[in-house]
């Protein structure tokens, strides 16, 4: 019975698997880049993705004024208008996710590397003042004002107690990441546009069948996701392999100290790395809302864990590995849940990871952001 099921829907599963896998791959790129450069599991990267889905929603409804999704009544657009809306959403997600990733780096990681600066101090100070404001005020507005007023003196104080030049242990980075992840999720749940509810994004793209392949309808949104992911991936590869800054990224990934001696601005390179990861996650987030039309404040968590699994599967630190790992994971999940039932979907992903690591401890393609790595 089950065998027959998988035979009948095999191509269907393949297409949706590759589409889901492309989203995993784009998010995995962020993990893999940061890991390659800093050797840090950027736990908060999943929240950057989540911010992207919200940015897409805000762009569509608040900026472009599209109505929310209601039953049987989609605000379909066609032609040039559709392309513009999609591009605007993509831009919104990329900008906000990229900015979020940069702020995260400077506030939560850079001070731990011993080079905390004004920007990080201001972000940290604002958040602290905001938290203190929670004690005295009830409305978000007065909280915000109190936070802004308190930022100055606290930032000044923070700048003075930053542990300059002292590297924190690696575990501290991870805990800082976990803290930031928790704080961002909760902040969006409390003050975000949709509380803790799941929300629907306006569906502007009519999901028509584009063409038939092996008797399966190929929907237009899947095609957009797969092509979009490939394009972004290519752009990233070109950037890392061909540009001057990309060379800096590879140099820092290979050996921080030597890169520093040779005149690479390490902190700037790390910032760029986070920015790239954030932009990729933003693109993934927009495509996610395109396919699934929905998001939630905690959507990032499981997706983030899966994407990290994909990064490890392909070989962490390896950009092409992230793509391969993402697609393999997406396919394995789809085939697996057809074979064993949907409730085992997440188990399949992890068992696959265990098996691959057992036989290829460095992932499918090996670790190689810098090529000559141990």
């Amino acid at each position: 019975m089950r065998d027959w099921l998988i035979y009948r829907t095999f191509w269907d599963l393949t297409v949706t698997g590759v589409a889901l896998g492309s989203i995993y791959a784009l998010v995995a790129l962020g993990y893999t880049l940061v890991y390659g450069v800093l050797r840090l599991i950027n736990f908060a990267h999943s929240e950057i993705f989540m911010i992207g889905t919200f940015a897409s929603l805000i762009t569509a409804t608040n900026v472009l004024g599209l109505p929310m999704l209601e039953a049987g009544e989609y605000p379909y657009r066609t032609g040039f208008q559709l392309v513009l809306i999609l591009l605007a959403c993509l831009l919104g997600s990329m900008v906000l996710s990229g900015a979020g990733a940069v702020a995260l780096e400077r506030a939560a990681y850079r001070p731990l590397r011993g080079s905390g600066d004004q920007f990080g101090a201001v972000v940290l100070a604002f958040v602290s003042a905001f938290v203190v404001g929670l004690i005295f005020f009830d409305t978000p507005k007065s909280n915000l004002i109190f936070g802004i007023i308190g930022t100055g003196p606290i930032a000044w104080m923070y700048l003075n107690i930053f542990r300059r030049g002292r590297q924190a242990p690696r575990l501290a980075f991870l805990i800082s990441a976990i803290g930031a992840s928790t704080a961002i999720t909760e902040a969006v749940a409390i003050w975000g546009p949709r509380d803790r509810e799941q929300y629907q994004t306006p569906r502007v793209l009519e999901k028509k069948t584009l063409f038939k392949l092996f008797g399966t309808d190929i929907r237009i949104d899947y095609v957009i996701v797969i092509i979009g992911a490939l394009l972004m991936m290519t752009a990233l590869l070109l950037f890392v392999n061909r540009t001057r800054l990309g060379r800096g990224v590879r140099a820092v990934a290979q050996d921080v100290e030597t890169a520093k001696i040779l005149g690479v601005n390490v902190d700037f390179v790390i910032l760029i790395t986070f920015l790239l990861g954030g932009v990729m996650a933003g693109g993934a987030a927009m495509m996610f809302t395109l396919v699934y039309d929905q998001s939630k404040f905690n959507i990032g968590f499981l997706l983030g864990v899966k994407s990290f699994t994909a990064a490890v599967l392909g070989g962490i630190g390896n950009l092409k590995g992230a793509l391969l790992g993402g697609i393999v994971l997406g396919l394995a999940e789809n085939y697996g849940s057809a074979l064993f039932g949907g409730q085992w979907k997440d188990v399949i992903a992890f068992v696959l990871l265990l098996v691959v690591l057992m036989f290829r401890p460095t992932g499918l393609l090996g670790e190689s952001l810098a090529k000559a790595r141990v």
Binding site: I41, P169, A172, L174, S176, A180, E186, I190, T309, V347
Partner: protein, 367 residues
């Protein structure tokens, strides 16, 4: 302003605690023992602390009964932090799926005392500890040969696999969970029931004290020194003849056993468990407890566990915002005190002293 001030006072408080420890170390044996006895007594009286004038205002948990916070949260978290500290702090292995062992312990008690058999809690508990230890060995054997960061993601997966398996298998009570789990047997006036949480606290505290005692012995033994060496530099340890794989497996198994112990205690207290009691986020909270307190330092782990468990209950006034505040606090503590609130003591001084007869003066001059 007051948050950073309180942060400062917390860190200076931690510093004075460690100074107090040093001062005590210089006292005679009888002074140390009596100080320890007073501390232990004070801990056993913890459920009554909210009635003390100033102290009570600090520790009270508005909206929840203090003894039940102690048993359901603090005792469990402290025990788990102690176990995880062996894995993360002593051996330096990053375990993100510790909740898996905790769940194995809880489920073993649940299955043996309610679902498929009717054994008393006292019989189930050692079996649960052994089963979780076995789970640790089974998971550790293939994965401990991997590099550290892969271990993190593999253990993360393990925690999820355990939860999803429990959720989907009828034999394990699927998503409805298992109820009517046996409680620990009543001893004299200590009645383990649903009404009074205090007996569970006394039991939990006793178990914690025993675990602390055993771990202290272990830390100062050959095994503990091997863990130290592995954590500082695995390759160097291997070269010096430490069987790194064996000792890493030991750390994993012992950590898992303590996690299982905490799970069995939890199952005995709440008498009803279901898979949603063991989410992945709990693993992360456990790890946060260890690192917040100071990875590698047992006292740090205890303080971290107690703080992570108690703080959200204390600040119920923040209602739904407390998790947010907790996240911010984690970042701030790591930024300004990355070694944790009570960092591991580096034993340099003691080494220097032992060298004093021959090279001591030269070293002193340099310093």
């Amino acid at each position: 302003m007051s948050l950073s001030e309180s942060l400062k006072s917390v860190t200076s408080g931690a510093r004075s605690v460690s100074r107090l420890g040093e001062a005590l170390g210089n006292q005679s044996r009888s002074v140390r023992w009596s100080f320890g006895a007073i501390c232990v007594l004070a801990l056993y009286l913890l459920p009554w602390w909210p009635n003390v004038p100033v102290l009570g205002w600090i520790v009270e948990t508005p909206g929840t009964s203090f003894p039940s916070v102690l048993t359901d949260q603090v005792v469990i978290f402290v025990l788990v932090a102690l176990g995880l500290n062996v894995v993360v702090g002593l051996a330096g292995l990053l375990d993100l799926g510790y909740v898996g062992f905790y769940a194995v312990g809880a489920y073993t008690v649940a299955i043996l005392s309610s679902q498929h058999a009717n054994l008393p809690w006292l019989v189930c508990m050692p079996i649960a500890v052994l089963v979780s230890m076995l789970a640790g060995v089974i998971l550790g054997t293939p994965t401990l040969r991997l590099r550290g960061d892969y271990l993190a993601i593999v253990t993360l997966g393990f925690g999820e696999i355990i939860r999803i398996t429990a959720n989907n298998m009828h034999w394990l009570g699927d998503s409805r969970g298992i109820s009517n789990i046996a409680t620990p047997p009543s001893i004299g006036p200590l009645k383990f029931g649903v009404l009074d949480a205090k007996p569970y606290f006394f039991l939990g505290l006793t178990i914690i004290l025993i675990v602390i005692f055993l771990l202290r012995r272990l830390e100062n033994s050959r095994v503990g020194r091997s863990w130290n060496a592995i954590r500082e530099d695995e390759d160097a340890a291997e070269l010096m003849g430490v069987d790194t794989f064996k000792f890493k497996l030991w750390a994993f198994a012992i950590g898992a056993a303590i996690g299982g112990l905490a799970g069995s205690l939890y199952a005995g207290k709440v008498q009803f468990i279901n898979p949603s009691n063991f989410p992945l986020q709990l693993s992360i909270l456990f790890l946060a407890a260890v690192v917040l307190g100071g990875a590698g330092n047992m006292w740090g782990a205890i303080v971290g566990g107690a703080l992570v468990a108690w703080m959200p209950e204390r600040f119920r006034g923040f209602a739904d915002k407390r998790v947010f505040v907790f996240g911010v606090a984690l970042v701030l503590v790591m930024v300004f005190r990355p070694q944790g609130l009570i960092p591991r003591k580096i034993r340099k001084e003691r080494w220097l002293e032992s060298w004093k007869p021959s090279t001591g003066t030269a070293l002193r001059d340099k310093e």
